[in-house]
């Protein structure tokens, strides 16, 4: 390899041995302010989609006598948890906590969907016809993404344990181009 090499943070080995190529210690990016801002934005976006949108749809439907099996308060609380965990997942991506957080997030999504599966019937009346939709199969299909996400979180957690910093290094490669303040972005 011709490029610079990086030592792990806290490595007892010198970053640059005599006669060897220069090794630049890798500095994980950490949770930056921009990332936190992005996570908060995503949390609000998720809250709007997962909690507020179903909440107002339910309120709108209630005006026409349509009753949903899930209470509006539950929608808001569960949606808020889903949104917070999703935001937390984004915030912790540059850290080794990302895997466990993803497991928590996907796990809660699965629990939420399993709860919805307890009463998966939406009954309504249109022009005197009582129509009930059983959406259990749809919900069962929606178990797939968080199920795969849970698996991805577990694999990520194991990978972060077995190969520390590999994922973070690959997903957040060191900046080797000159920064605005002169010099190189990555500490040397």
């Amino acid at each position: 390899m011709n490029g610079p090499q990086f030592s792990e943070p806290g490595s007892p080995y010198p970053a640059r041995a005599p006669g060897a190529r220069r090794v630049i210690p890798y500095q994980p990016p950490g949770v930056s302010g921009a990332r936190i801002a992005g996570a908060v934005s995503l949390t609000f976006l998720y809250f709007g989609l997962v909690a507020l949108l179903p909440y107002y749809l339910e309120q709108y439907a209630a005006k026409y006598g349509l009753s949903a099996p899930i209470g509006p308060d539950f929608l808001l609380v569960a949606g808020a948890i889903v949104a917070i965990l999703a935001g937390l997942s984004v915030a912790t991506k540059p850290t080794r906590a990302w895997g466990p957080v993803r497991v928590m997030s996907a796990g809660f999504d699965l629990i939420y969907i399993f709860y919805l599966l307890q009463n998966p019937v939406y009954a309504t009346t249109i022009h005197g016809f009582m129509i009930s939709l059983t959406y259990s199969r749809i919900l069962e299909l929606f178990l797939i993404p968080p199920g795969i996400g849970l698996l991805a979180g577990v694999v990520t957690s194991i990978g972060d344990i077995r190969h520390p910093w590999e994922r973070i290094q690959l997903q957040f490669p060191p900046k080797l181009w000159p920064s605005r303040g002169g010099g190189y972005g990555q500490a040397m």
């Binding site: 249109i126 005197g128 129509i131 749809i138 991805a152 990978g159």
Partner: protein
């Protein structure tokens, strides 16, 4: 430590994350199209609800009055309606033998952007107490239709339709009237009898024989006569002459009648007792 290539765990995690995102996107798009199609399907069915009475045919087979109700079901959505089955229960609060009939229809498949007709054959058994009642009396029959189907292969739909069906009796307003008796040479009395009824079910033709037994208030037989009867649309007035002993006045007597159909198979129904005014 820089590695030449990512580890298998990292690659597996990456693949799983992409799969999860793709699955979520696909499901959201699928759900949106299913919801849009379902609304169109529901609106189409609602528009057809008014034409329910235009597709009703009735007939008598054996001891059953068969009512064939055809439900036109348009499907303006993208997805197929599969395994559509119907169950209908007809009841009437006046008649104590409830339910009057339980009938099933289907299964049927209705393609997307298509239309299907589902026929529901309802049988009213004349052998049960509802039979004579329905022959003589109009009735508001409460119908409840249960529809089960699978929409877009993954959404089971259950439709419960409550509707009222007006049953028109083929022998509605059955009444007997007597004219002035005339003494015959053989010592009997000839009494003109007018039998009137109305067929309130257009298109329903019933042919058979009506056996009429006239008894005085003490139960003594005055006369018995059988004559052919065939219903047709609207009122029917039959003029018959009954011959009875001169001891019978007929006025105030009771009339019991039995309607007999030659079939096949032959059947007979005892009609309720009437009193001659």
């Amino acid at each position: 430590m820089m590695q030449s290539s990512p580890s298998a765990l990292y690659r597996l995690a990456q693949v799983l994350r992409v799969l999860a995102i793709l699955a979520l996107v696909f499901l959201v798009l699928f759900l949106a199209t299913v919801a849009f199609s379902a609304v169109q399907l529901g609106e189409g069915i609602a528009k057809q609800s008014g034409s329910l009475h235009h597709s009703v045919a009735a007939a008598i087979v054996g001891t059953d009055i068969l009512v064939n109700v055809t439900f036109p079901i348009p499907n303006q959505g993208y997805y197929n309606v599969r395994d559509l089955t119907l169950v209908a229960i007809f009841t009437n609060q006046t008649i104590q033998s409830s339910p009057l009939a339980v009938t099933t229809g289907g299964p049927a498949n209705i393609p997307g952007h298509g239309e299907g007709n589902v026929s529901l054959l309802t049988s009213f058994d004349m052998a049960n107490p509802a039979g004579p009642f329905l022959l003589l009396n109009d009735a508001e029959i409460q119908g409840t239709l249960f529809l089960n189907a699978s929409y877009a292969a993954v959404v089971p739909v259950n439709l419960e339709v409550a509707f009222n069906y007006h049953w028109g009796a083929p022998f509605a307003n059955l009444s007997y009237g007597t004219g002035t008796p005339t003494l015959e040479k053989n010592g009997t009395v000839a009494i003109p009898v007018t039998i009137h009824f109305e067929n309130h079910t257009p298109g329903l033709t019933i042919a058979g024989n009506l056996a009429v037994v006239v008894s005085d208030p003490n139960g003594t037989l005055c006369t018995r006569q059988t004559f052919p009867v065939e219903t047709h649309d609207g009122p029917v007035t039959l003029m018959e002459t009954f011959y009875a002993p001169d001891t019978c006045s007929l006025a105030g007597d009771t009339v019991t009648s039995v309607f007999t159909s030659p079939g096949p198979p032959p059947f007979s129904i005892d009609l309720p007792t009437e009193t001659i005014p």
